[in-house]
Symmetry: C2
Subunit: 291 residues, 2 copies
Amino acid sequence: MDPSSRIQNALETAVARAVAKPAPPRLGEAVRHAVFAGGARVRPRLCLTVAMACGDDQPQLADAAAASIELMHCASLVHDDLPCFDDAATRRGQPSVHAAYGERLAVLAGDALIVHALETLALQVPQAPERSGQLLLTVTQATGMPYGITAGQAWESEPEIPVAEYHQAKTGSLFAAATVAGAVAAGAMHQADNWRMVGERLGEAYQVADDLRDAVGAEDELGKPTGQDSSHGLANAVSEHGLEGAKERLDRLVEEAVGAVPECAGAEQLRQGIQQEMERVLPKTLGRNAA
Amino acid sequence: MDPSSRIQNALETAVARAVAKPAPPRLGEAVRHAVFAGGARVRPRLCLTVAMACGDDQPQLADAAAASIELMHCASLVHDDLPCFDDAATRRGQPSVHAAYGERLAVLAGDALIVHALETLALQVPQAPERSGQLLLTVTQATGMPYGITAGQAWESEPEIPVAEYHQAKTGSLFAAATVAGAVAAGAMHQADNWRMVGERLGEAYQVADDLRDAVGAEDELGKPTGQDSSHGLANAVSEHGLEGAKERLDRLVEEAVGAVPECAGAEQLRQGIQQEMERVLPKTLGRNAA
């Protein structure tokens, strides 16, 4: 089965457990909307790509890891869009969860997604206790405190924002979890440090690509309002390094990510995959070879 | 070590992991406030009481289970108090988290507490994979969907609220998780159905006691504004059965809980403990023997 179908199936399975009867129907709809209204599935694809490069000897575990990470990502988007944060009316070209279902159900849908992200891994403990235990900690550390997504988001409420820690926690942590989880699911725990570096560099690259898209105003491609970062007064790669400088930085990050890939059965294919993926997430007018 | 100290230590350990450097300091304060500004610790005490009745052969596991359940309870209170839900300025006689730290940090503190509640159990997987796996699912099912706390809270956003499902999910589920988790932590998984019934009855009893306190306006004892349920237009035990009827219902529920306690080393002591606990949570003017 191709990675996209595996991810879709794994997410369907996890969400079906959550929205089954007797779940309150509107909460069920809000959760489905949060997970299935678009989404590029960048992190779970990265997770499966790494698992496959490492042999993917327990695919059901890799699928669970990929789903867990995507559910966490969806939870963070739902809460990020709340009126008290970005107050975003749209997400992925559709109404945000709070715009469609109200603030209460948006808070609860995010909460439920966090719970079910980890439940998806907990269900694997009987079959694969060692790897599942590691996967659970990989995902909790990337999403909680002191340096997961919630910590990253919370830096915005501090009087001073340490930019590197902020981006690392808010974006880098879940990318690093995606690569590490892919490796752990396939039994390559011993290479976790390398895979963490691959994920961190790609997370940063993705952030720079986001800044570039934001700067060129490719609103149609992104499906959400652009110019958000500068309106928050946060430093970003383009405001700091200029358009060309940001593109150079992106190239260097991708190079470093590729260079950090450890020796494994599918290393070469994975290196090429990273290059292609980064082409895909850049706005078309900014293809790296068009520079 | 007595149960209160065990709970306090387990919570301190879990929270210390979360608020360690480089956590954003204000988020760390918000999380500490959410967990340590008061709280009767009813659920974790119930969890440890059951574990001890079942032999408590792995106390570190029972402690983790108790902490996990209390962290989930704290998370649910922080999110319940948000402006979009109860908009409560106080909780346990102190400012609520959003009143003290703002809405953003209240959302994030709740999110982080959910993650760390489950991380606390995930850390036990290497030492006790089978029991930890069961504990993780016990807690996720009690807090997620389709019948955990988030589902319970979400019923308030439906056009019609099924009262029994609503209370069972919003309050009963975590009480049932407390008794089941205590048993599972001590290796008494085979008696989980009995312990679930004990927890469900006690959860409902606690809800009725809450309604009674609400009705007699024991605001000082409770530390939060009273009269909330009736102002939400929700059915409660006193509005449905009257003061005397509600007290009778409470007695019956406690009796049923006591009757459901399965045979185990500490059964008799536990039955007495349940009676004492229910005396304790009632407002003093309503002691069950004062009827």
